[in-house]
Symmetry: C2
Subunit: 399 residues, 2 copies
């Protein structure tokens, strides 16, 4: 057992804030000095919950960091402790898969503000002994990545072989390279953008207003009052879920087919399959996700604007970068369209970066990065193989 392995083993069995125990690893970071957030607020010692798959090689050169999306978490390739469902990126992570756990040491931490063990509004505020709620400081994607870098310091990993993620995960990947250019050998931002658009902000705002309209939100203090804004969060999820699918995908999956009936009922029950599906998405989401986390994380996305952060020139975020990039977009993604992704590629070109761009033809919409899209996996495999060769990693195993 290596030092890293014993450290990780010692961090098993985390507790989920406010909702009981669940398996997982957790570490308290920032014990020596509080973390200064982009807002200027200091965050005292805070938990970070994470999972790992595979083994770090002796050179520490095979670490892959997965940045998860808005409603994702660290349970990438194992059953989810709350829902029991398979890991959200099972299709991508495991032996022989694109992120091959026989080859790579894969790490994923619950993001800052998440509700699966990392510091966020559901965790306990040490100053009060009660859940943070809206007293938790508003943070940025820069702060999320700062926390992830602290986790890598803790694990003794100097440089990632690869940072990869879709949607908000892709934004974190871009922020990783901008904030820590020396620590990312290769980067794969998928279906994302270098800034949230006006439409993105608008969609987030509707979701937030749906949550805050629910009287059981209690001004954000629902955990202390033993309540949950279930209806509001379900509505927010239903709306968000539509944006993850393309019009074509909805048509292919559901069309105008009726749900368990021969004719419409002339009422407001779920006559259509798509209604039934969306209601299920809303209801099941509430069981595994926290309403305030939804507010904070969408807010961090709203604030994301790498161009503005780097003096109005996006290329400046990637100046002199040595990172190898592969940017992915999906033709039917209207939430983070090819056009948005192409702006990243143009900036990388302007910074003379080593960049590939793959626009994948698929009707599956934004969620394509979670699905079995063979062309996407094929191109990603090729990119990883090339990058691994440049990094001097053996073709299989840990070497």
């Amino acid at each position: 057992m290596t030092i890293l392995e014993s450290r990780i083993a010692a961090e098993g069995n985390a507790e989920r804030g406010g909702t009981g125990a669940f398996p997982g690893r957790k570490v308290i970071l920032g014990k020596d000095q509080p973390l200064r957030l982009d807002s200027g607020v200091l965050l005292p010692a805070f938990p970070v919950a994470y999972q790992t798959y595979g083994r770090l090689n002796d050179e520490g050169s095979n670490a892959v960091y997965i940045c998860h999306a808005l409603t994702g978490d660290q349970f990438v390739a194992e059953p989810h402790p709350v829902t029991g469902k398979p890991g959200w990126w099972n299709i991508m992570v495991g032996p022989g898969k694109p992120l091959d756990t026989d080859r790579f040491f894969v790490i994923c931490a619950n993001i800052l503000g998440g509700c699966m063990g990392t510091a966020g509004p559901t965790e306990t505020n040490p100053a009060t002994g009660k859940p943070w709620g809206l007293d938790f400081p508003v943070f940025t994607i820069g702060d999320m990545v700062r926390v992830q870098a602290m986790l890598l310091d803790h694990l003794g990993i100097e440089q990632l072989f690869l940072a990869v993620g879709g949607s908000l995960g892709g934004m974190q990947v871009l922020q990783w390279v901008a904030s820590y250019p020396e620590r990312v050998f290769a980067a794969v931002p998928i279906a994302c953008a270098a800034r949230c658009s006006s439409q993105n902000i608008a969609l987030h705002e509707v979701g937030r207003q749906a949550v805050m309209a629910d009287p059981d939100w209690c001004g954000g203090d629902y955990l202390s009052q033993g309540k949950q804004p279930r209806r509001g969060l379900a509505v927010a999820r239903m709306g968000a879920h539509i944006t993850y699918l393309s019009e074509q995908a909805l048509h292919r999956k559901f069309g105008r087919r009726l749900q368990d009936r021969e004719a419409v009922t002339y009422g407001f029950e779920a006559d259509f399959q798509v209604e039934s599906y969306l209601r299920h998405q809303g209801i099941s989401f509430v069981d595994r996700f926290d309403a305030n986390s939804f507010l904070y994380i969408t807010r961090a996305m709203d604030y994301f604007d790498l161009e503005a952060e780097y003096g109005g020139v996006l290329a400046s975020a990637f100046q002199d970068t040595k990172t190898r990039f592969c940017v992915f977009s999906f033709t039917s993604d209207w939430l983070f369209s090819t056009e948005e992704n192409r702006m990243i590629v143009k900036a990388l070109n302007a910074a003379a970066a080593n960049v590939s761009f793959a626009e994948i033809e698929t009707d599956s919409g934004h969620d394509s990065f979670l699905q079995n899209v063979p062309e996407f996996h094929r191109v990603l495999n090729g990119f990883i193989a090339g990058a691994a060769e440049h990094r001097g990693l053996p073709r299989s195993g840990l070497g």
Copy 2:
């Protein structure tokens, strides 16, 4: 004063159900026999509130019927009695405008289920003396048009020169031709579809769930209980409003500009202009629209599927039609895309109909039909001029 004019004059000063008096014309229809709805339910004598502009000529050949959209009403070209704002189609209706009131007799009635005086959930249920609420029967777009045909019977108008409308209004125009092929000389469906798509239904369902999640909805009985589901309806409106604008229009109008501040606040106030705008849209909507009407009308849209209604062949809806069509779509409309509109045109072609199709290049999204889009107005003017000539109407005035 003609017979029609004295009849209309006698129908002045309608009452708005439940919310006090407002100016307007109203007639009670179905007094002789109740209206049989598509659901099979019989609707007893019911009010229809409508407005007219211009004068009917002696031949009765210059009537234009405007079908309004989901949140529109009969106050097309005059100040709105509740908000005081200009009529919603002022740009289109008036002397010298495309729907020239010096030439045409323009009629618009509040649609069935609306909340501006026509029968709907806010009106009084004669059986109970209380507002209908959810006891109002669920209806279809076919029923809406049936009511409009009854209004024309009442006004003594045999055939419309033109039926025109955008969005839900365009759907009504299609239904008009399908249900009453002899009564529509020319038809202009704008930015619509011959059926609601899976995505359309999904978006409607999120809006309905937002309304129904509000405890002040009171199971639909809020009027009797002196309440209003203001928060839920505002959220529904905010979500719907995003779908009326294109991503480009939102970017052009708001971008990532901040609202009355120099820097973000690290909080959940409306930091961004687009948030402030959407909140305003939501809040002001609630003052002029009814939550149950929103449920019923979106449901009627969900149920709309002309192809299914006509044996699975859309062209059958227009068989042997003599109506002259001009179909409009807008390039940046993602709610009812050019593709959906093209399906209408294809069906009309298959029915050997006289049809023009204009896809208007604009970044203004679905709402383009309400806005000053010169190319749209130019083509519409040309179509109306040609149709009027074929109908034998004089080039100006009532002849």
